[in-house]
C-alpha cells in the first residue's frame, strides 16, 4: 500500500467535499428540517431543583388541554441507560429523584409546539428538595445525601490510583522538584445546531424509526433497544447530517428516547427539538478539572518522575466519565518520556448537568497543567523552554511507561517547523513589554483502541456495491458531523478503484442500510472507517482486475487503475474503462460487491485502566501563540497562532487545515472566554450571547503547517486532525501571557479580571498569580503498581 505522494490520483488533493454543494444551497436535510405526514411535536418539562425527590406528578390538567395527545413520565420509561456499560445511571425521565436543574421530568406530545409548551405549564410536580452538591469540594465533603447509590463512597463516582515504575525513587534522583496546582473550568460544545430527533413508530410492522442529530447512531440504537424493550432489528436509527457535534451529540439523550416512546403511545411521528437553553443543560461538555502536578527533573531538565492528581467535577451522571477520568492521566507519557509516573484521580458527582466528551476528551486540561509547568521548570533551571521539551520528547517507535505504543511521531519536526514559521528565536524574550510568545506540544489518539462496550467485533465496516453503469456505492455507518468523513470515505474508495471522488455514491449512518461504524468520537473515523473502506475496495477490485486482465491478456499484477481506466503499467495503451471491466466482471462472477472491516490490534497493557489511551496511532501538534496584553484593561489579544500538526498523511490537505483551524478556534475560545459556570444552582449564562465565543473579530490569523510522517498503522499513512490540534493552543496562550506580563494565570479561561488581579498581586509584591490555592485533602488509596515495559525496567 506504500505509494509515493505523486502516485496517488485522488488522495493528497484538496478536492471539494462531497456534501459541499448541498450544504451551500440549503439542500442538506438536518434532523429538524424533516417533516413527516401527521407529525406532531414534543416538549420536555425540566426539573427546577438541582437535587430533590419527586413526591408526586400530576399531569391530568395537561392531558385535558385540547391538542395534547400524550404525556409520559419516568414511570413509562423505568429502564436505565447510559453510554458506557459502567454508567447505566440515567433515566429518560427522572423516576424518583432529580439530580440537576434542567433534568427531563415529563414529556408531552401535542399538535403543535405552542400547545406542548402550554401543557408543560399545567403539570404539577411536587418535589422534596435535598441538599445540593454543587462543587468538587462539596462532593468530597458531603457524604449524604448521595446523588447515586453507586461509586466507591459518598458522592465519588470513580477513583484511580496507579503507579508505573519507581515513582519515589524517581523523585529521589531529581535535582529539582516542582509542585503546581491548576484549574481548568468546564465549557460546552455549543454546536450551532440544537439537538433534534424525529421518531416514527409503525404499529403494523412494530418497528421504530428515528432520525436524530447524533454522532453515535449505533449507541443510540443500543440504548433504545434497552429502554424501549424492543428487539434490535425492530429499531432503525438514521443519523441525520449533524450540524456540529464536537462530542456534544455522543451520548444517547432523553429527547431521543421520549420521542420514540411518545410515538409508540400515540401512533404518529413526533419531533422533539431542544431549545438553545435546553442544549446548555443537556451539556456533556468539558469537565472542570482541578489538577496538582509534581515533577522531578535533573539539572539539565530531564524528567525523572511525575505525580499527577486530577479532580473531575463530573456533574450528575456517569456519561463517558469512566473514560474521561483516565484520559486526564493517560497521554502525559506520550509527549514526554516519563520514566516513573503516578496518576491519581477522582471523578465526583455534583448536581449539575453531566460532563462528558468534548473535542480532545479529557486531555486539554492536563496538557494545560503540564505545558505550563514545563515553562516554570525551565525558568527554575535557567533552561530554554523549548530545550527542556526537546530533552524529554518521545520519538517514533516508542513504548511509554504506561504501555502505549507510538509508531510515527512528528513532535520534533513539528517543533522545528512551528519555531521557524513563528520566528521564535527573534521574539522569545525580545518582545516589547505587554507582548509575549508561548509554545506548547500535545498529542491525541487516532481512535480508541477499545470499543465502549466489550466485544470482539470489528469497530468499523464498509460495504461497496458496483453497478454495471460504472457507479460505485459505498455504505458506511459513519456519520459526518462536519469533519469530512463522507469525503474521506469517497476519496479512499475512489483511490483504490481508480475512480473520481464524485463517482462514489454514499449511503451512511443508517442502521438498517449500513454496516456498523461505532460513531464519530475519539478521532476514530478516518483511521477505522478508512481502513474498512480500503479493505472493501481492495476486495471489490479483485474480480474487476481479474476480468480486465483476461480481456487485456496481461497478468493481474501489472494492472493499475486511475482516472476511470484500468491499464497495464508497462504498456498503458493496453487499457479498459472501469465501466467495461466492471461489466465483464459482473458477467463472469455475478454482482460485484464486497465488505471490509477494521479492528485495531489488541492493547499491550494489561492492567485496570489500560483500556483508555491505547490507539493505533498518535497525532502530535505544536503551537506558538503571540499575544498583546493590555495591562490597563486586562485584555489578552492573541495576535497570531502558528500550529504544526503531524497528520501522518493529509488525505485532503484543505480538509485537514480546516480541522486544524477549527481546533485552534475552539482552543482559543476555551483559553480566553468560554465557561460553563453555575450560580445559585443555575447555569449562569445559557445563551449564545452571554456564553462568550469568538466571533470573526476576535479570531486571529492562523498559520497551519502540516507535517507528514506516513503512519504505518494509518489508512495510506493518515492520522487524525479533528481534535489533537485544540490542546496545545491553550497552554501556548497561557505561556505567552506569562511571557508578556510576568503573571501566572493558572486557571482557564484567562479573563481580563484574572489578568488584572494577577497584575495587582504583582504590584503588591505578592506572587503574581491567579489560580487555585490547593487541592482538597483526600487520601487516595495506595497506588496499584503496574509492571512497566522491558525498556523502562531499571
Amino acid at each position: 500500500m506504500a505509494k509515493a505522494k505523486s502516485e496517488f490520483s485522488v488522495i493528497g488533493k484538496s478536492l471539494p467535499r462531497v456534501d459541499a454543494g448541498d450544504k451551500c444551497t440549503g439542500r442538506t436535510k438536518y434532523a429538524d428540517d424533516l417533516r413527516l405526514p401527521r407529525m406532531v411535536y414534543g416538549k420536555i418539562l425540566p426539573s427546577i431543583h438541582p437535587h430533590a425527590l419527586i413526591k408526586k406528578i400530576d399531569v391530568s390538567r395537561a392531558e385535558k388541554l385540547p391538542g395534547v395527545l400524550g404525556v409520559i413520565t419516568g414511570r413509562d420509561l423505568p429502564i436505565q441507560f447510559g453510554i458506557m456499560p459502567t454508567s447505566q445511571d440515567e433515566h429518560a425521565l427522572a423516576l424518583d429523584r432529580v439530580r440537576y436543574v434542567g433534568e427531563p421530568v415529563v414529556a408531552v406530545a401535542a399538535l403543535d409546539e405552542e400547545t406542548a409548551e402550554e401543557a408543560l405549564l399545567l403539570i404539577d410536580v411536587q418535589y422534596e428538595p435535598l441538599k445540593a452538591v454543587m462543587s468538587l469540594e462539596d462532593a468530597i465533603n458531603i457524604k449524604e445525601p448521595r446523588i447515586h447509590d453507586y461509586g466507591p463512597e459518598g458522592n465519588l463516582h470513580k477513583i484511580v490510583s496507579i503507579d508505573f515504575g519507581d515513582v519515589d525513587g524517581g523523585f529521589g534522583e531529581a535535582d529539582h522538584i516542582r509542585e503546581d496546582v491548576y484549574f481548568y473550568q468546564g465549557n460546552t460544545h455549543l454546536p450551532m445546531e440544537q439537538h433534534s430527533a424525529v421518531a416514527s413508530w409503525n404499529p403494523s410492522e412494530e418497528k421504530m424509526t428515528i432520525w436524530s442529530a447524533t454522532q453515535t447512531p449505533h449507541y443510540v440504537h443500543r440504548a433504545l433497544a434497552k429502554v424501549l424493550e424492543l428487539p434490535d432489528h425492530k429499531i432503525r436509527v438514521v443519523a441525520a447530517p449533524v450540524g456540529g457535534g464536537f462530542g456534544g451529540k455522543d451520548d444517547p439523550f432523553s429527547h431521543e428516547i421520549c420521542a420514540c416512546k411518545l410515538s409508540m403511545l400515540i401512533g404518529r411521528p413526533i419531533k422533539i427539538t431542544l431549545t438553545r437553553e435546553e442544549v446548555f443543560y443537556a451539556h456533556r461538555g468539558r469537565h472542570p478539572v482541578l489538577m496538582w502536578v509534581k515533577t522531578g527533573v535533573t539539572k539539565d531538565g530531564k524528567i525523572t518522575a511525575m505525580h499527577f492528581k486530577s479532580f473531575l467535577d463530573g456533574g450528575a451522571y456517569g456519561s463517558y466519565g469512566p473514560a474521561s477520568i483516565y484520559y486526564t492521566g493517560a497521554l502525559q507519557t506520550v509527549t514526554y518520556k516519563i520514566p516513573n509516573y503516578r496518576f491519581q484521580a477522582i471523578r465526583a458527582f455534583t448536581n449539575k448537568p453531566a460532563c462528558g466528551p468534548k473535542r480532545a476528551h479529557g486531555t486539554p486540561q492536563p496538557r494545560f497543567a503540564i505545558e505550563r509547568q514545563l515553562d516554570r521548570l525551565a525558568e527554575d533551571l535557567k533552561l530554554d523552554p523549548i530545550a527542556i521539551r526537546q530533552k524529554n520528547m518521545t520519538g517514533p517507535n516508542h513504548v511509554t511507561v504506561n504501555w502505549l505504543k507510538i509508531n510515527s511521531n512528528g513532535s520534533k519536526e513539528c517543533t522545528e517547523e512551528v519555531l521557524k514559521a513563528s520566528g521564535w528565536k527573534t521574539k522569545f524574550g525580545k518582545l516589547p513589554k505587554g507582548k509575549g510568545i508561548g509554545f506548547a506540544l500535545s498529542t491525541y489518539i487516532c481512535g480508541a483502541g477499545l470499543p465502549i462496550y466489550w466485544n470482539e467485533l470489528p469497530q468499523s465496516e464498509v460495504q461497496i456495491q458496483v453497478d454495471r453503469s460504472g457507479l460505485v456505492t459505498a455504505f458506511s455507518g459513519a456519520i459526518d458531523i462536519g469533519q469530512g468523513s463522507n469525503t474521506v470515505l469517497a476519496s479512499l474508495v475512489a483511490e483504490v478503484l481508480g475512480l473520481y471522488q464524485t463517482d462514489v455514491s454514499l449511503v451512511t449512518a443508517d442502521t438498517d442500510l449500513t454496516p456498523i461504524d461505532l460513531g464519530t468520537y475519539s478521532s476514530r473515523v478516518t483511521m477505522m472507517m478508512g481502513h474498512a473502506a480500503i479493505d472493501a475496495a481492495m476486495k471489490v477490485r479483485e474480480p474487476i482486475f481479474e476480468a480486465a486482465a483476461e480481456e487485456m491478456d496481461v497478468s493481474i499484477e501489472k494492472l493499475e487503475a486511475r482516472d476511470r481506466v484500468i491499464f497495464d503499467k508497462e504498456n498503458p495503451e493496453n487499457k479498459l474503462s472501469f465501466k467495461d471491466a466492471a461489466q465483464l466482471a459482473e458477467a463472469k462472477f455475478g454482482p460485484i460487491g464486497a465488505v471490509g472491516s477494521y479492528k485495531p490490534a489488541p492493547k499491550i497493557g494489561q492492567y485496570k485502566g489500560s483500556g483508555v489511551g491505547p490507539s493505533p496511532a498518535y497525532s502530535f501538534s505544536t503551537c506558538v501563540a503571540e499575544v498583546d496584553c493590555d495591562a490597563e484593561t486586562g485584555e489578552v489579544k492573541v495576535e497570531k497562532i502558528w500550529i504544526a500538526h503531524d497528520i501522518g498523511r493529509a488525505l485532503n490537505p484543505l480538509s485537514v487545515i480546516g480541522q486544524v483551524e477549527g481546533s485552534v478556534y475552539m482552543g482559543l475560545g476555551e483559553v480566553l472566554m468560554e465557561e460553563q459556570d453555575f450560580r445559585k444552582n443555575l447555569h449562569k449564562i445559557p445563551s449564545l450571547l452571554d456564553y462568550k465565543s469568538l466571533t470573526f473579530k476576535e479570531m486571529p490569523p492562523v498559520e497551519t503547517i502540516l507535517v507528514e510522517t506516513d503512519e504505518p498503522n494509518g489508512p495510506f499513512g493518515a492520522k487524525e486532525a479533528g481534535q489533537g490540534p485544540l490542546s496545545p493552543v491553550i497552554p501556548a496562550v497561557a505561556n505567552a501571557v506569562y511571557n508578556a506580563l510576568g503573571i501566572h494565570i493558572d486557571e482557564i479561561p484567562i479573563t481580563p479580571e484574572k489578568v488584572l488581579k494577577a497584575l495587582e498581586e504583582k504590584k503588591k509584591g505578592n506572587p503574581p498569580r491567579v489560580g487555585p490555592k490547593g487541592i482538597p485533602s483526600y487520601n487516595f488509596p495506595e497506588p496499584v503498581k503496574v509492571e512497566v515495559p522491558a525498556e523502562w525496567k531499571r
Binding site: T25, G26, D33, E118, L122, D124, M192, G244, K697, M699
Partner: protein
C-alpha cells in the same frame, strides 16, 4: 423559558391567537406566497414550517447567532426576530434563492472550493450575509468582511476559510466586470 415561571400555574392562551390568523402575501425568491399566519409568527417559522423552505436554519431563535439570516430588500436580517406580518410586499431572499436556474452564485462556488462549510449549519446565513456585503462593497477589506459577518457565529471553521471565500468571490466578480 421554563426556569423563570412558577411551575403548575396555567397561563393558557385560550386559542386567542389561533382565531386571529391573517392572510399575508410574501415575495420570496421572486415567487409569491400566500400564507395565513398568526401575528406573532416569525419569518423563520413561516419559511420553515409553512413553506418548507428549510434551508434557513436556527441556532437560538432569539437573535444571537445569525444562523437564520435572510435578505430583505438585499439587506441581511434575522428571520427569527422578524414577524411575517411586517414584511409583506418586500423582497425576501433565502438560501434557496441564491442559486439561479441551477447556477450557483459565485459566493456559493467559492465556499465549496475553499471548504468554507464544514457542518454546513451556519452556512446559509453566512452566504447571505456575504452576498449582501459584496452587493454593497465590491472590494471589501478583511476588516470590512469581519465587521459585516461578525453577527454570524460558526463553531467549525475558525472563520478564515469564510473570509477567504468572500475575498475570492470579490476578486472574481471584479475580474469578470473588467
Amino acid at each position: 423559558m421554563f426556569y423563570t415561571g412558577a411551575v403548575g400555574t396555567a397561563k393558557t392562551k385560550g386559542g386567542l391567537l389561533e382565531s386571529q390568523k391573517t392572510l399575508i402575501t410574501l415575495q420570496i425568491n421572486g415567487e409569491r406566497y400566500e400564507v395565513a399566519v398568526t401575528v406573532n409568527k416569525t419569518l423563520l417559522e413561516i419559511l420553515r414550517e409553512d413553506l418548507d423552505l428549510t434551508g434557513t436554519k436556527h441556532g437560538c431563535e432569539v437573535g444571537e447567532c445569525g444562523t437564520c439570516t435572510v435578505l430583505i430588500n438585499d439587506q441581511p436580517i434575522l428571520s427569527c426576530l422578524t414577524l411575517g406580518v411586517e414584511i409583506q410586499g418586500q423582497k425576501i431572499t433565502t438560501i434557496e434563492g441564491l442559486e439561479q436556474n441551477g447556477k450557483l452564485h459565485p459566493i456559493q462556488q467559492a465556499f465549496i472550493e475553499l471548504q468554507a462549510a464544514q457542518c454546513g449549519y451556519c452556512t446559509p446565513g453566512m452566504l447571505l450575509s456575504s452576498k449582501a456585503l459584496l452587493d454593497e462593497n465590491k472590494n471589501p477589506s478583511q476588516d470590512e468582511i469581519k465587521e459585516a459577518l461578525s453577527g454570524n457565529l460558526c463553531r467549525c471553521t475558525g472563520y478564515w476559510k469564510i473570509i477567504e471565500a468572500v475575498e475570492l468571490t470579490a476578486s472574481r466578480l471584479g475580474a469578470s466586470k473588467e
